[in-house]
Symmetry: C2
Subunit: 204 residues, 2 copies
């Protein structure tokens, strides 16, 4: 079922290598100096490629920092379709994105820096959101394919919940479990936000 790995070959390996170098350089520099004090030229230089090459890998400066791996995957949609139709929308989405959340936790180093950078440079959060917004429509359609709940709303709202959880996870410096944070947030969504009673514990 896997369109299996024709073994990557020297060329693609070097490409991946350059890409990683660019991402790493971008994150490190922006983490150090702040978004405004890092130019594409700086990043390219740090990764030892020409500035022009940077744009062969990323469409924008932000993309190298925020990344495109997150909500971008069709995998999410496929997994969502795989969830039995009688599962309500919110838990279904949770189930569909869990693998991604685990991947993020597994790659903790990278994502913690990434989130810290985003927290310190609000302009970037924008980028993250817009990426997910592009796919929010797809997600909404996928949700609409299942029962009752308001699809567009569910897509937007779960997206927001993930974002908040991600930032919270980063704020805990990775000590909290991302998957649990997201699960808790989703529980609140499913159960209803109006209700102060069960969660008397408020962190902040």
């Amino acid at each position: 079922m896997l369109p299996e790995t024709a073994p990557p070959g020297r060329r693609d390996r070097k490409k991946q290598q350059t890409k990683d170098a660019l991402i790493a350089a971008a994150l490190r520099l922006v983490d150090d100096r702040g978004l405004d004090h890092v130019t594409v030229e700086d990043i390219a230089a740090a990764a030892d490629v020409s500035p022009r090459t940077f744009f062969n890998y990323f469409a924008t400066k932000d993309e190298a920092i925020v990344g495109d791996q997150f909500v971008d995957n069709h995998d999410v949609l496929e997994r969502l379709r795989a969830v039995p139709a009688d599962v309500p929308a919110v838990p279904a989405v949770l189930q569909a994105i869990t693998p991604d959340l685990e991947a993020i936790e597994a790659d903790g180093e990278l994502w913690l820096v990434r989130c810290r950078v985003m927290a310190n440079n609000p302009a970037l959060v924008t980028g993250l959101i817009s990426r997910s917004a592009q796919h929010e429509q797809d997600l909404a359609d996928a949700i609409a394919a299942r029962s009752g709940t308001d699809a567009a709303l569910a897509a937007a709202v779960t997206g927001a919940a993930v974002r908040v959880s991600l930032m919270r996870w980063a704020a805990s410096d990775g000590r909290a479990r991302l998957t649990e944070l997201v699960r808790d947030a989703f529980d609140l969504l499913a159960h209803g936000l109006s209700d102060p009673r069960p969660t008397s514990k408020d962190h902040r």
Copy 2:
């Protein structure tokens, strides 16, 4: 309490006038040609000011189109504080933003174009969100001042709900009532998104 209107005076009137002209020009041009085919120079020319002047009024091209009037107001925060503390978060927010929603409906022409433009130029939605995200933190703090519910989550989620409702309202070409759309969305949030059919048993 109002640092009220020292009567505007000729100068401020002209300023407001220029600003309106710039906004109108920006919306019209982008609506016609698409975001990428309109330069700041075009907008300035259409409003009959120098390009440099454009940036005396707006920090970015997007700002002229998306506007800053929406979630930006401290008024929302003040109104939120005015809501009795025993009202749950979601309805409290609803109450706090209702005047703004009514203002949007009242200025329907402008906002319908604005939403259409946003729908057609996804890059702009981003801008709207990031604006509200800036103030989402403030909103979260204000919510945190009241009872139990998870503040950051409530802020993010209500923001998403408003955005979805706004787009929906625009899609209906203003025929739906914005305030009702938002109220319905908020009801879902408060009541819980999970449950497509109230009759079905709770599975799990």
